[in-house]
């Protein structure tokens, strides 16, 4: 008998044996092999559990890495939201200031402009705005805030404007007393006061409010200008009473101003 034939006979014999074995034990499966498997399961079950534990460890590592990535992403998002919140707070403050100007002063606001610089000379008291003719600003437009009068626009470029404030030595503002009769003119008296000349008969005392008052002037009437700090003694025969007035607006702290329609 050749080797190839022997191999085939061996194959056929084992094949038949396998099929017979399966047929004979079918009724008892899986009881019979189950008993055998149960007796040696701890040996091979150990490696299976080892694999499961390795898998769980890898999953924990990857989950941790995912969590770290998620944490980094959320931190970046939080930072972005904080910045957005900050921007919205500033915008809200700006819009509320505009609303107050309109509610208190009843005036048409042309634009809300950022203050980008002060006049560095020390002689003049001027502000530079980050808005100009492109945003609708024109020479002669009054500039104000919710707290009070700031000044008037004197120069305009496409994207910038210069404001002559009420503290500027060249500034002249027609004013009146808020709680008593009396009309006068406020001159800028740097660094931080106004010098108001008013009729000597006016009944005024420190603490009184001074508002813009000229009907035909540069500024709308009724905007707060400042508070009287000192009433200088009137010299005999003087034609005017001089008041030192602290402006209602702290110009050095201004961040934004409202530009009004010109009269």
């Amino acid at each position: 008998m050749s080797s190839a034939l022997l191999r085939r006979v061996l194959l056929a014999g084992l094949l038949v044996l396998g099929i017979l074995l399966a047929t004979v034990t079918r009724q008892s499966a899986p009881t019979l092999p189950g008993e055998f498997a149960a007796s040696i399961a701890p040996i091979f079950g150990f490696s299976f559990r080892l694999g499961q534990n390795a898998r769980a460890s890898l999953a924990a590592i990857f989950d941790r890495r995912d969590l770290r990535a998620e944490q980094r992403r959320m931190q970046a998002e939080l930072q972005q939201l904080r910045q957005e919140n900050q921007r919205l707070i500033l915008e809200n403050r700006r819009l509320q200031a505009t609303l107050r100007v309109q509610a208190v002063q009843g005036l048409g606001v042309v634009a809300v402009a950022p203050v980008i610089d002060d006049d560095p000379s020390g002689l003049y008291r001027r502000l530079f705005l980050g808005a100009g003719s492109s945003q609708g600003l024109r020479v002669g437009m009054p500039v104000t805030t919710a707290n009070g009068l700031v000044g008037v626009i004197t120069e305009v470029t496409p994207n910038q404007a210069v404001v002559r404030t009420i503290l500027d030595p060249e500034s002249r503002v027609g004013v009146r007393l808020a709680s008593a009769p009396g009309r006068g003119v406020a001159y800028g008296a740097p660094p931080r006061m106004l010098r108001v000349e008013i009729a000597p008969e006016a009944n005024v005392k420190p603490g009184d409010k001074v508002v813009s008052g000229a009907i035909q002037g540069l500024y709308p009437a009724g905007i707060t200008v400042g508070t009287v700090e000192q009433v200088l003694p009137v010299a005999p025969g003087a034609l005017k009473k001089v008041l030192l007035v602290r402006p209602a607006v702290q110009l050095s702290l201004l961040e934004e101003v409202q530009v009004l329609r010109p009269l």
């Binding site: 022997l6 191999r7 061996l10 194959l11 084992l14 094949l15 044996l17 396998g18 099929i19 017979l20 074995l21 399966a22 047929t23 034990t25 079918r26 499966a29 899986p30 019979l32 092999p33 189950g34 055998f36 498997a37 149960a38 040696i40 040996i43 091979f44 079950g45 150990f46 490696s47 299976f48 559990r49 080892l50 694999g51 499961q52 534990n53 390795a54 898998r55």
Partner: protein, 157 residues
């Protein structure tokens, strides 16, 4: 003794890989690869009964039908011997033919017994999602495993 240790290691490693991959991916058949490595080092007259015995052991360990894997591994070993004479193992195409044919013969044997026992759930239509990934994974790692086996056992084919 070395062969017994090899088979024991294959069963242990198979359990480890099964636990590692979980239920998402069918693990590669390391027992089949170990059987191939084993039968490659002996003559068919010893290799065929050995493959049958390993398959029977696998059936008993997995609490299945005794004879199912026995016939599967028996046919895979026979296919290995036959195909090794037709193509050369040292060429990549030859390895693909031998391993692919042998793997197909294993499942043919399993399905043959399943058909004989009229096991309805054992058919290619329901098992293709197991057979295909298992075959792909097994054939991918087969050259490396068999090479490692040869270096371990010191056998030159």
């Amino acid at each position: 003794m070395r062969l017994i240790l090899l088979i024991a290691a294959a069963f242990l490693l198979q359990g480890f890989v099964s636990g590692l991959l979980g239920e998402t991916i069918p693990p590669p058949d390391l027992i089949y690869l170990a059987t191939l490595g084993m039968v490659a080092s002996v003559s068919p007259f010893l290799g065929l009964p050995l493959a049958f015995a390993v398959g029977l052991l696998q059936d008993l360990l997995s609490a299945g039908y005794p004879g199912l894997h026995a016939v599967g591994l028996l046919l895979s070993a026979y296919a290995y011997y036959r195909l090794s004479r037709l193509v050369h193992w040292d060429e990549l195409a030859g390895q693909a033919v031998i391993l692919g044919g042998s793997f197909a013969a294993k499942w043919l044997g399993i399905l043959l017994v399943a058909l004989w026992l009229r096991l309805g759930e054992f058919n290619p239509l329901t098992l293709w999602s197991v057979i295909v990934p298992e075959m792909v994974l097994t054939l991918i790692i087969a050259p490396f495993v068999l090479q490692a086996y040869r270096q371990l056992v010191g056998h030159n084919q």
